[in-house]
């Protein structure tokens, strides 16, 4: 029983969420609402894809929330100044630059990832405010720009944000499971010393996981900027914890060495469903925070209980 929950707990929770919300409100189980959920999940989910690599590699990235703010402000602000194409390019350049600073400090200088990215979180907030001068930014002509494609349009009835999220998820799942790079990330997270003795270059690998999380954060900024066509300076505040919640809910170990993109996707979808379902049921929006916390605790508990074979620890 416990073993079963350890392996499939996340899928069970997913089904449970669907069933409970479907029974309690008619609006929940419809294609439209499902697409809404995926759409809502797409921003946090896209970031979580990259962060999953960081966590499997044995590190944390808490800077993604404020990096999202920075990237969104940047791409929206530059849109009118240099045109959408160049704006997107520049946004990715600066986002990856910040990712590479994280990667250099953590991979090459071997600094603690919690400290580096926590510091980066506030550093980027500062940079964002300096850049924008504290003012909100927006795009003046919101109807006649192809930039709207990423957040507002749909292909074959599926919103583009959902497509970006799912396609990126499939690609990264394949990278994680089928390529030498993915295998090496598991190895450095599982046992850094043994990986070193096996000739893996840990510094380079850790570096690239931070580039990856910066890249997926950039993609999320694209979706967010395009959907809102404007941005506040603190739009991504608190996202780092929601992202981490999704990753943990998906069963990726914070100690590194195990995890899966597919399960991260399910984890993020559960969080979005809870949010969506509670709103449909008429609860105030802040109930989701409490419920999310309870769900995470139960998920982590079941995970640990499955590993030790008992619900409670005897000593």
């Amino acid at each position: 029983m416990l073993q079963f929950f350890g392996k499939h707990g996340i899928s069970v929770a997913f089904v449970l969420c669907v069933v409970i919300f479907s029974l309690s409100t008619q609006k929940f189980l419809s294609t439209d609402n499902f697409l809404t959920v995926v759409m809502q999940a797409s921003i946090i989910g896209t970031i979580a894809l990259g962060v999953t690599f960081v966590v499997i590699g044995g590190n944390l990235d808490l800077s993604v929330g404020s990096l999202l703010s920075f990237a969104t402000v940047l791409v929206v602000d530059l849109h009118d100044k240099v045109g959408p194409g160049t704006a997107i390019l520049l946004m990715f350049v600066f986002t990856l630059l910040i990712g590479s600073i994280n990667g250099y400090l953590i991979g090459y200088l071997r600094l603690n990832s919690l400290i580096v990215t926590l510091g980066m979180l506030s550093a980027i907030q500062g940079i964002t405010l300096v850049y924008s001068g504290g003012k909100n930014v927006d795009i003046s002509d919101q109807t006649n720009t192809w930039f709207a494609f990423f957040g507002r349009e749909a292909l074959f009835g599926v919103p583009v944000p959902a497509i970006i999220f799912i396609v990126l998820g499939i690609i990264l799942q394949i990278v994680l499971l089928k390529t030498g790079f993915g295998r090496k990330i598991f190895a450095i997270g599982g046992n850094a010393t043994a990986s070193l003795f096996s000739g893996l270059r840990r510094n380079r690998l850790v570096f690239s996981t931070y580039l990856l999380s910066a890249f997926t954060t950039g993609c999320a900024a694209l979706i967010l900027g395009s959907r809102v066509m404007g941005s506040q300076n603190n739009v991504g505040e608190g996202y780092e914890l929601l992202v981490l919640a999704g990753v943990i809910l998906g069963g990726t170990s914070l100690l590194g060495g195990s995890g899966s993109i597919a399960r991260t996707v399910i984890g993020v979808l559960i969080l979005a469903m809870i949010q969506n379902g509670l709103l449909l049921l008429g609860f105030p929006y802040y109930t989701q925070w409490l419920v999310t916390w309870v769900v995470i605790i139960v998920a982590v508990w079941l995970d640990i209980a499955a590993k030790r074979g008992k619900l409670f620890s005897t000593y």
Binding site: K184, A194, G199, G257
Partner: protein, 513 residues
């Protein structure tokens, strides 16, 4: 009639015959493995009872049941004729059963005294720690153990051997009835071993029952009163040490004859594969020069801390030398990282297979191909079936006992884990293979297999270096033996000229000039 039975009982219950600890028909299963199947054991007060078995025979499982870490699926445990259930180490401790772990479980940043009383700190008014009292009580126990270090010493500053003494001291605090030693000598030098044995004998004299687990036959015969043997999770019988011999228990333990002794022909020497000259790292070792030819096995023998491991790590690119050079196949090379070393045909089976050798959470197959994963990838894509083929090849060749390629190395026995590490390096087709303590903590069966393997590898033209702290091992596998003492090479022996006596002199600094 009545008196007769009473008499019988009184004979049976003579103090030295009465078991203090008794296990009846104990079984334990894990998913896919029956670790213990109807195991019996009785341990008497005041005896050293050795538990013998190959890795994977179920010794560790049995010990964990005694220590309350695992609960048996079937069978009963009696302590002083009382049926007991020990559902946690805490409960086992309350019953007076204490396990001295193979891997030390101490806190390096705390003092000796704090470690000794960890979890049982005598407190004033249930809140405040009285350090002086703590240190005094700890000092008493240390004196009993003949330890020379102070209770106030920071644990991390002690040698491994002394840390082991702290571990024993910690057990003594609870005035145990049964103390279980799990491979206590694995990382001890010969001198430290003698001290430890003294302590164990003293415990025995004072009426404590000792369960002693070891792979080392000589130790078991030196120390124990009785020997119980396990094989594949089943009980193979108990013997009085004085009435049995190594052959008999070995036979019981492995259920087959050990392969005949390794024959030694003078090796067919190939070209010089590795030449090290004047290598040194300040404070670790200095002026190390030697060479290894293709087709020969060079043994590095010395005490723990003589600098052998550090030299190998330097050759393998894990440390930067302050002086000297390393030539491979006659070429002067700068090896700055393990991946450079691997590119130049070097392989290193490291000292500690769990920390340095394996990613324990990964499968056997994934571990096997980890060091040369790029050879299994095309455009970044891993060819899983090629990986499987290679793992299965080595599974056959090295006789790795494992349910399948996807099986996690975490659940393998020590011997099989080590074989996976060796397989990993053989799959990189190295020219030079370094094995650092290749059989530490491994049962005799696997040990002998690994020794044969080393000889065979040399025959196929590999240059092999074996670092070992065990003299029989060095004598068995090496063509030449390099003795080290305190960071220097003291002597280099040909196999034909070496004697145990000269070797001991060389590694203890008495070169006898």
């Amino acid at each position: 009639m009545n008196t007769q039975t009473e008499m019988k009982e009184s004979i049976n219950s003579q103090p030295e015959e009465k078991p203090l600890l008794k296990l009846k028909n104990v079984s334990k299963s894990f998913p896919g493995v029956k670790a213990l199947d109807g195991v019996e054991l009785d341990v008497r007060a005041g005896e050293v009872h050795a538990l013998l078995g190959e890795n994977g025979a179920g010794k560790s499982t049995l010990m964990k049941i005694l220590a309350g870490i695992y609960q048996p699926d079937g069978g009963e445990v009696f302590l002083e004729d009382q049926l007991v259930h020990m559902s946690s180490p805490l409960e086992a401790r309350e019953h007076g059963v204490l396990l001295i772990h193979q891997e030390l479980s101490l806190v390096p940043d705390m003092t000796v005294a704090e470690n000794v009383f960890l979890g049982n700190i005598p407190r004033f008014a249930n809140m405040f720690v009285n350090n002086r009292h703590l240190n005094e009580r700890c000092g008493e126990i240390l004196t009993r153990l003949n330890c020379k270090f102070k209770p106030t010493e920071k644990l991390g500053n002690l040698s491994i051997a002394n840390q082991q003494m702290v571990e024993i001291a910690r057990a003594l605090v609870f005035q145990p009835k049964v103390v279980v030693f799990d491979e206590p000598t694995a990382s001890l030098t010969d001198y430290e071993k003698v001290v430890l044995f003294g302590v164990i004998r003293e415990l025995k004299e004072s009426g404590t029952a000792i369960v002693y687990i070891s792979h080392r036959m000589d130790e078991i015969f030196e120390l124990s009163d009785r020997i119980s043997v396990l094989r594949d999770g089943t009980y193979q019988g108990t013997f009085y040490t004085r009435q049995t011999n190594e052959d008999e228990v070995t036979q019981r333990m492995i259920g087959r004859d050990l392969d005949a002794d390794i024959e030694h022909q003078p090796p067919e020497l190939g070209a010089k594969a590795l030449e090290v000259s004047g290598l040194g790292i300040d404070g670790l070792y200095s002026d190390i020069s030697f060479d290894v030819h293709a087709g020969e096995v060079v043994g590095f023998y010395g005490l723990v801390g003589a600098g052998r491991t550090e030299i190998m790590e330097t050759i393998f690119g894990l440390r930067k030398p302050d002086s000297g050079s390393v030539q491979i196949n006659g070429q002067n090379l700068a090896i700055n990282s393990p991946s450079d070393a691997i590119d130049h045909g070097l392989g290193l089976v490291p000292e500690s297979r769990k920390e340095q050798g394996l990613v324990l959470g990964m499968s056997c197959k994934d571990n096997t191909t980890l060091a040369n994963i790029s050879e299994f990838t095309k455009l970044g894509w891993i060819d899983t079936s090629a990986e499987r083929k290679v793992f299965e090849e080595y599974m056959d060749k090295l006789r790795i006992k494992c349910p399948g390629w996807e099986y996690s190395t975490l659940n393998l026995s020590g011997g099989n884990q080590q074989k996976v590490v060796i397989g990993k390096w053989l799959s990189t087709s190295p020219k030079i293979l370094i094995l650092d303590e290749p059989t530490r903590g491994i049962d005799v069966g696997s040990k002998s297999e690994i020794h044969h393997l080393i000889r065979e590898l040399a025959k196929t033209g590999l240059a092999v270096i074996v670092v070992s702290s065990e003299m029989p091992e060095v004598l068995t596998v090496s063509d030449r033996i390099i003795a080290m003492y305190d960071g220097r090479i003291t002597r280099c022996f040909d196999r034909s000229e070496v004697t145990e006596d000269t070797l001991i002199r060389a590694i203890t600094g008495q070169t006898g000039h």
